[in-house]
Amino acid sequence: MAGLSGVPGAAGPRQREALPAGLARQQYAALAAMRWQVFRNSLRTGKGVLEFGARVLSYAMFGMLGLGMSVGFGFGSFAMITSGHVQYLPILFWVVSLIWLMLPVVMASMQEQFDLGILLRFPVSFRSYFLLYLIFGLVDVSTVTGALCCLGLGIGITVARPELLPWIGLALAVFAAFNVLLVRAIFAWIDRWLAQRKTREIVGAIFLALVLCMQLLNPALYQGRHRGARGFEERVGQEQRAFSKIRPWLTRADAVQRWLPPGLAARAALFAADRQPEPAFDSVGLLGMYALMAGLVLGWRLGAEYAGESLGEAPSRKAARHRKVADRGGWTAGGSGPMAAIVEKEVRALRRTLPLLYAVGAPLLLVLVFAGVFIRNGPTGHTFQLALPICLVYAQLGFTQLIYNNLGAEGAGIQLYFLSPTPIRTVLLAKNVFHSILFVLVALAAGALALLRLGAPPAPVIAASAAWLVFALPCNLTAGNIFSLIMAYRINPGRLTKQRGSQGNALLSMLVQLGVIAVGAAVFSLCWTFDAHWVATPVLLLLAVAAVTAWRLGLGKAEALANAHKEELIATLCRAE
């Protein structure tokens, strides 16, 4: 932590004042006791017990997932070392880094994160603040999963070459420390950028640019070489030709990646395997420098928080007056009724909520990735027929938080819905309409991407996929409305981290979505097994009619359900962050 004394705020007046010896330890104990009391008190209510049960279950699930990946990495690294393909070892380290980086975003609604900002009112030293920030980061899903993956890598390499244990242990420890610090630093900075409109817009623009780049990159890499491929051999030939084209690029990328942390960690192992301790030590040292740099970047951010930075963004009075006339217009949904007002408000709120935009847009990226996978693995060069429905299924996942916690972002504003003469039914209906339009747009985009990348599947697949969408949407909306009323949780839409989350809601919504997907998959597989492809569409449409009926019934009962859970809902969403 010595290197952190230069960060802004760290040298502030509170830092310079000498705190009594043992105070930090006392504060850690108090914080631990507070967390324990919070946990114990959370079990006083049925909802709290359900949350705890869901948390245990989800941690068990992710633990299994982590263990599975750990075993995979273990076997992978073992195979690479024993088969002499050690040059591919960096790939595994890069994958671990990506998992470490991506999981916090994917798992945002699955884990409760503690906002340490509340500690700043107490005489907590910057060192303690930094340390606590790191410690609280250690108990999240990404760290646990990443650590398990590292463990798997370590075991795999050690079993293959036991003499490498000290080196790989050291390299993996520094690599893990780097990842923990990097992830915390990135999300701390993103949260800071999302806190202000100007920086938020810049981050949004960068995000959109990245999306576009990904969209262009994937087709550029794969599309040309698969056009017109008919047989397996022809496809293999195309693959080889494409590979030889990108080989120079890969060589250059390899030269760059070996100086980056995952590459350095892998190189430490490779040098150690070649019995070259000095370069191995250099690699670990450089990796340590990267970790230190990540720590400094994190410290810089936390230092500003610690110093009590103000992220207020009041425009100057002159500028505000200047803008006044221009602002009077503004986008409207048309119509005067509450429905239009709510849709309009939802559009505005979504536009300003990058994490939700990301959640909605991210599956599109993965659709592109899937499309690449299908192109490579499609049977005998023909378009993989079920690629379209699978892409649509994936597109729906981005809507989990929007649909299943559709009141969560209202905060104290939830009271307005109960105070105004607009029935909750209308509020939910408007939100459902907005989410449906958005979902249909994303589904169309996902479908279009899949069609462009893979070509048009047979007509029965297109029809059945559309029918499944008509079935899935009301199913999700029905369950989403119910969960939103009885299991809502407050979210701060401007933050990626420090969210409350609800394991109960997340787990149950995942189960419902899996159920909807399973029904679709069952219909598809039955119809394709019995070669009755066209039957899938009417069956799914029939199910859609039932789902729409259930949605209408659910909406009809929304008022009663809302009134029954009104107090808990208001208490949950009005609770101070």
């Binding site: 009041a314 505000a320 006044k324 509450p338 709120a349």
Partner: protein
């Protein structure tokens, strides 16, 4: 109002300790309601709310006439906000009935909700909107057409001195600005009954002065205001009638003069004709136990 209005009620520890006579108007045990007021804006009968074993509000029976500026006072945790939440449909009463503008009121009374404006405890703001967007949204939620909502939004922003902050998100507003916005949202639809839970908390003196003028104007045009505040000077200046709730029970209810008359005999020095302040009345009714405790905190600097 005057025909049906009850005389002031004094109960609670202080009243008992002072040996005040039992209020003559109290109905016999079991009969908890006041006679029906003809022009009542708010009337409750035996309003009770329990949270498990805790009774937050117990048998609150009161009437507020139309056009009255009514102050609802009580120490922290006395049940003021719980009462307001029940009166505005945010909380279901465990027992008792309530009428707003002469009609039974419950969560489903949507037509009646159009006549009510509320600044609730949590202010009910939507942080991701700007002030004009929020006011426009609230106006339409209360059934105003888009044009009217937009016009009133502009007027209210000017009035509340928020017009310069139109690009700022509500979540970035200071507490005082949020309070002003919540007040603007509570009146945008021109309510006949206004419930204000601590409306002056965190509002600067200039804005508070404007708000008082606005509220007085509403009263002169026939609106009814039900206000809770810890700033007793403001309540004394604005309200014609006051009720005091203590430990969930209504312990006093009447005009300021009636309350003064009620406690005068119990307060030393009040007999010499000195006009008692609302603070003195309030402390004499709910007690000032905190004063003695504070003296015991010898470790405080």
């Amino acid at each position: 109002m005057s025909a049906a209005r009850p005389p002031p009620v004094l109960r609670g520890r202080q009243a008992v300790a002072a040996g005040l006579p039992a209020p003559v108007w109290l109905p016999p045990r079991g009969l908890l309601c006041l006679p029906h007021m003809e022009n009542a804006a708010i009337q409750t009968c035996g309003l009770t709310r329990r949270f498990g074993a805790l009774t937050a509000v117990e048998n609150v029976t009161l009437g507020v006439a139309q056009g009255q500026f009514f102050g609802f006072l009580g120490p922290n945790g006395a049940g003021k906000s719980t009462t307001i939440k029940m009166l505005t449909g945010l909380l279901e009463p465990t027992a008792g009935t309530m009428e707003i503008l002469g009609r039974p009121f419950g969560a489903g009374a949507l037509d009646l909700k159009r006549q009510i404006g509320v600044v609730p405890e949590g202010m009910a703001l939507l942080g991701r909107l700007t002030a004009p967007e929020y006011l426009h949204f609230v106006g339409r939620m209360y059934g105003l057409d888009a044009g009217t909502a937009r016009e009133r939004t502009e007027e209210l922003l000017e009035f509340m001195q928020l017009a310069d902050e139109r690009r700022k998100l509500v979540t970035d507003f200071s507490h005082g600005m949020q309070k002003k916005l919540a007040l603007a949202a509570a009146v945008i639809h021109g309510p006949k009954v206004l419930f204000l839970d601590e409306p002056f908390e965190g509002v600067d003196a200039i804005a508070a002065g404007m708000l008082k003028t606005m509220l007085a104007g509403m009263i002169s045009r026939g609106a009814t205001i039900f206000l809770t505040s810890h700033v007793l000077e403001i309540v004394e200046r604005l309200c014609s009638h006051v009720a005091i709730i203590h430990q969930g029970r209504l312990v006093a209810n009447g005009s300021l003069e009636e309350l003064r008359a009620g406690v005068a005999s119990a307060l030393p020095g009040a007999e010499d004709g000195r006009r008692l302040t609302l603070e003195e009345i309030f402390l004499s009714i709910v007690g000032a136990g905190g004063a003695e405790s504070a003296q015991e905190l010898s470790w405080l600097a």
